[in-house]
Amino acid sequence: MITRRDFFAVIGGGIVIWIASDADAQESGGGGRRGMTQRMPQQVSAWLHVDEDGLVTVYTGKVEVGQNSRTSLTQAAAEELHLAPANIRMVMGDTAVTPFDMGTFGSMTTPQMWPQIRRAAAAAREMLIDLASQKWSVERGGIHIVDGKVVAGSRSATFAELTKGQQLSGTIPSSPSLTPATEWKVAGTSVAKVDGAAMVTGAHKYAYDVKRPGMLYGKVLYPPEYGAKLVSLDSSAAEAMPGVKVVRDTFKANRGLAGQELVGVVARDPLTAEKALAALKAQWSPVTGTPDSKTVYQHYKETARGGAATNPNLVPYQVAYIAHVPLEPRAAVAEFDASGKLTVWTGTQRPFGVRSELAEDLGLSEEQVHVLMPDTGSGYGGKHNGDAALEAARLARAAGKPVKRNWSREDEMTWAYFRPGGLIEVHGAVNPDGTLASWEFHNYNSGPSGLQTPYEAAQKTEQVHNADSPLRQGSYRGLAGTANHFVRECYMDELAHSAKLDPLEFRLKNLKNDRLRQVLQAAVDKFGWQAKKKTAGHGFGLACGLEKGGYVAACAEVAVTNGAVKVVRVAQAFECGAIVNPEHLSNQVEGAIAMGIGGALFEAIQFADAKLQTNRLSKYRVPRFADIPVIQTVLVDRKDIPSAGAGETPIMAIAPAIGNAIFDATGRRIRSLPMAANGVSV
């Protein structure tokens, strides 16, 4: 019998090639060094299997991080198989059984995996009809699939009765017959969250919850300052503790600013591990001369590769580093079997990438490493790599037992990577008729996503300047799209005011993109932009943009009281083609607004003297119930356009809409994110 793995290796079809620029690699959290070129199997059996119990199992390398990919991909299969979603079981992000996947990021699940699952399911549907046709000697045209049964006149059979547990052998045709969006019955509807019931009862198992027989608990000693090197270690007190093993090891490569050296402890329970860690006496080399969170913007400019911009009229904006704060920190359990094969359960957006990292670090072949991704308690781009997995694996190897390495919140907020900080300089000129004459935009360090303006301008210069980042940085929901939209949309507001034009009118005058105009109109209509009335301390702002096939526009009302900013009301319109699941899309849009308010108003990583000062939730404020405005969403459904992702773009308009509203309320133009960590001076 050949295994699923062998099957892919032997017969795998169409080749997908991904080309990553330096900037992409930087933004994807340092991942993607390997495995960028892989085969996307075209065998139906690689993607789905009709089980003898009557369920259909669907395999995908994508993972569930809260964005409801498990549900949307279930809908994809259900739609094309004419099968109820409850009869579909998704197996996700398991490197032993799911087809290779680069990772769950970049809003790619919906535009790429969703149609792939539909194609596989549509091909399976046709094969089931073939099977019935042969078995019953009935013409294909007389056979239909209705509610999960293959039917021809008075004859009917379940999928399982036809396949009897055998694989569906055949390839996915290049253009299988897919159900058009206008005829969808399951796709396009608000199918309830798959596994929702297990989540509200606490039964659902996440990476942090994995337990293995004989498992030990691991803790890792990190430097007191990032970049510090271990000078000496006295571990005698820790080693004297019952059941404690102290591990000293060296990773193959540097792990960000935590260094290459591993000093860890393992123990039978977490408290003992914690006490053993505290008993380690370490000396570290001091670190000096690093930029702090105030001087870092100048540092970007000084270290810009290829030099800095020279136009003296450029207006500088700043964007702080911020943290993802996934409520479930990174976690991994690693276990070696007697043959030396490694299995790791870990919360990651890139299970195959983590497999490569583990194989490379431990000197194993990829076949010797099995990574499973139980669902994880969110990621937002923050769980691209295998930090916890690597630690767990090395500790497990040293201990000779399975080891659980769950990061604490402090570990997460110190040694994970951050959304890049940035310095952005912008300048534009407006013609007497209100059209843009020129547009110049320079992004230092924060990245290229969403860099290009959707507005028309006779002359455009848009440039990313890579620079030295003192902190470890990587992917974050929307990447630099949030920073670039913040600056562009606030500066457009500046230009509108200096040209004495209404901000909406000024945008429409310079915008030809129909889809963006449509969401902008939808947002202002919902908000009542034209009818808004100013009252003391209140202000109104709007912003819009597009990225990754999503179009977003937001209107915000803020109230500024003694310098404290409260977002009162937000209306946001979003369009990403044909809507896959309206309720879940609305949830994403609302959630992005809520999260975006944090980065807009108060989230910022503070650091000085090579220490992170915002290393706990008590020192780093994230949005709470009291910060949330009345949120009105408008979802524009374009059944004529293929569906795009929605996890990122809806976060991009909220910060500039708030910034423009603060200006409207106070006359103060705030050119830095966050805008009101300690309120605004009025």
Binding site: G66, K193, T201, K211, L327, D375, Q588, L617, V622, I628
Partner: protein, 157 residues
Amino acid sequence: MARITHLDVNGKRRPIDADPERTLLSVLRDDLDLTGTKYGCGEGQCAACTVLVEGQPTKSCLTKVGAVAEKKIVTIEGLAPEGKLHPVQEAFLEADALQCGWCTPGMILGAVGLLKRSPHPTDAEIVSGMNGHICRCGTYPRIVKAIHTAAGKGAKA
């Protein structure tokens, strides 16, 4: 202090053998496999670890197991003991008041406690009563809606 040998969880007297200094959170998760109770911050800032102690929402990450050895503890696994969902659980599903679900158990138990204190809370009472809970996915408006729905159904702990 002597080791803790029993814990009254979800209506059952469960044998354990724990250092009294360990957190209730760790004993529930690591010893009793009640992993529905979640770690989020370890300093009482996010309330993902909320359980009910004598009916009161309590942050298990800040609670030493020695302090609750004789008390009645209810975790998320004990809220629907006969498989029938509690009205607050039902309301969370109905409102789609979750994304990743990590904050959900603590959020639900916090809401159960709130509705016990205030059976028909206003928006403002929900916001102030639940403000210690973090949902990083930002489903706050849906959670407010779910609590109203559960209140309408007369949810009780």
